[in-house]
Amino acid sequence: MATAIEVQNLSKEYGPLRAVDGISFRVRVGEVFAFLGPNGAGKTTTVEILEGLRRATGGSVSVLGLDPWSDAYRLHLRIGVIPQDFRFFEKITPREAVQYYGSLFHTKPDPDELLSRVQLSDKASSRFDTLSGGQKQKLGLALALTNDPETCFLDEPTTGLDPTARRAIWRVIRTLKSEGRTVFLTTHYLEEAEVLADQVAIIHHGRIIAAGTPNEIITAHGRPGRLRFQAPPALAEYLRARLGLTVVSMDSRVDVELREKTDALRVLSAVEASGLPWQNFTTVQDTLEDVFVRLVGEMDDGALKSEADG
């Protein structure tokens, strides 16, 4: 598959602060790439370098085969960008805004069609300063599509939005992917990445700490799967003594960690054989969010510990 974005050893310094510290990754044409990280991790700096809005301090960046800083004008004809907290001229309506961008890009978008795509038709004639946060983001999305972009950059597009507005934006992102466009998405909503992304990279303190498909990251960094049921602590004791697996009991909940697929059958047989009461049997798998919280937490704990030791 062709490459849309190629980043090699990218770094960005603001005075003594190293916001991005030698990161590398590749985004293929047509995939949704989620760039995750806590606040201040270096997400926005990275995406702004990719968009040609900031100059990198070191490393190399190529977007659609162009250098974003020196070829910004040509690049901007081919990409669409929605920044965090999209702002526009206060007295201008969404319909006028789409016409304006259409004239600037010399494209002839149908404002009504484009606004209906982002579910903003009912506000087409309302001034920007009367729109809600979600409606403003939707307009940002519509404007990012006026030039029919090959690659879309969405920087935390759903931050602060209610669940309905968030899902509306997700639908648009899925449509973009189905149309063959590449989507570079930064977010700190892990669920968003898990639902939408083909590939994920997690950045923390300017470095990538995990990368791959959501499943690959969960497999590589998550805990093993678990069987969970409601049962008295006596059952936990019983299983621990017979199976040689890690069994955790808390209140009336028992979790048994599975090392191999066949362990599940052994656990169920042992539970049945115990004659003790049990109910609500479920399997539990780490989510991307569990992995993210653990990875980021471990790094921060490690940093605190080495600071204390030092």
Partner: protein
């Protein structure tokens, strides 16, 4: 530069402006208020006669009454006869706040008819030199006329009054080019400084940088709008000045280059000031430091020729001085050569500042 993009951006600028009531007030209503206010203040002092309080101790003799009638006829003073006590006249004037007084002594008519010297007394107020001067002049003039008449003489040297320029100019005539200049300066300067700083803070320049619109196209659309606005404002000011105060100004094509070069200069200067500032607050400060001296010292409200020499030299380095002086030459004195010199200077400054503004005004950060 592409005309299509400039036109598209111009539409956004115009819509934003026309939908902003504060901006509309300052461009359409404020000029009328300015003309009205200054017109009223200065046309009032120009036309009114100085009130002259008179104590006639000659018991309204025919000669004294005629003398006072002649004083009134000068139109410089308006005689008000009182019946105060002669000894307390000066202090009574002070208590009443009357600026000037005149006492005609007892026996004034008898002395005059007998050709014996007689003095009238004029009370002046040092704090109101202008009124005192006018009254003294009027009293001296009327007294000389009576003296000449008494000795059966006739005037040898007469006076014909002429005014500066080709016709009679009043303060309002000078005020119109001054206030058009005021508006050419303040309207774009204040808006552009604010736009430069706030669009950067809100990320709107960042949005625009992701489109094919260039900085010079963006600046050009704003210049075009302020040129159009300047034509409207100038029209309103000239109309209000002529209709309300009977101003005499010449409206000719010679005015057009100033109404273009002025906004070109000050839109660019506002953008430059807003671009070099780091925050909206410091941008406003820089804007005010540039705007205020120019607002008062370029001949907007008062003629630069009335300033002390040092201030006149300072005025000559302010670009607005050449805008206003040029419009004075076109609208009042029909002095094409000097107007041409002024407009070329303003255009040269405008082009330099425009290029500097494009150079320093950044869409994106390093």
């Amino acid at each position: 530069m592409r005309l299509g993009r400039i036109t598209a951006d111009l539409k956004i600028v115009v819509r934003s402006y026309l939908r902003n009531p504060v901006a509309l007030f300052f461009s359409l209503i404020f000029p009328i208020i300015l003309i009205g206010l200054f017109g009223l203040i200065f046309s009032a002092t120009g036309n009114s006669a100085v009130p002259l309080t008179v104590l006639n101790l000659d018991h309204n003799s025919p000669v004294s009454v005629q003398y006072l009638a002649e004083l009134n006829n000068t139109t410089f003073v308006k005689v008000q006869v009182v019946n105060w006590n002669a000894s307390g006249f000066a202090s009574q004037l002070g208590r009443n706040g009357d600026p000037v007084g005149l006492v005609i002594p007892s026996g004034f008519e008898a002395s005059y008819l007998a050709h014996r010297p007689v003095n009238v007394t004029v009370y002046t107020n040092l704090a109101d030199a202008a009124s005192s001067g006018e009254v003294l002049g009027a009293v001296q003039g009327v007294s000389s006329f009576f003296n000449l008449h008494a000795s059966n003489g006739s005037a040898i040297i007469g006076i014909t009054q002429q005014h500066v320029g080709s016709q009679v100019y009043t303060y309002i005539d000078y005020l119109i080019p001054g206030l058009i200049g005021f508006s050419i300066l303040t309207s774009p300067m204040f808006s552009m400084v604010d736009i430069a700083a706030s669009y950067r803070k809100e990320g709107i320049f960042r949005e625009l940088s992701l489109t094919p619109l260039t900085r010079s196209e963006w600046l050009t659309s704003h210049i075009l709008w302020y040129v159009a606005l300047t034509f409207v404002t100038a029209g309103i000011m000239i109309g209000a000045g002529v209709e309300l105060f009977g101003a005499h100004v010449t409206i000719s094509l010679g005015l057009v280059p100033f109404l273009i070069a002025g906004p070109l200069l000050f839109v660019s200067l506002g953008m430059l000031a807003g671009s070099v500032a780091k925050t909206p607050e410091s941008a406003a400060l820089i804007g005010n430091i540039i705007t205020f001296p120019m607002m008062f010292l370029s001949g907007t409200f008062f003629q630069v020729s009335l300033f002390p020499p040092a201030l006149q030299s300072f005025a000559h380095i302010l670009p607005l001085y050449y805008v206003i002086d040029g419009m004075d030459q076109v609208m009042l004195f029909a002095n094409t050569t000097r107007a041409l010199f002024d407009v070329l200077g303003v255009f040269a400054a405008a082009i330099v500042v425009f290029l500097l503004a494009v150079r320093f005004f950044k869409w994106r950060d390093e």
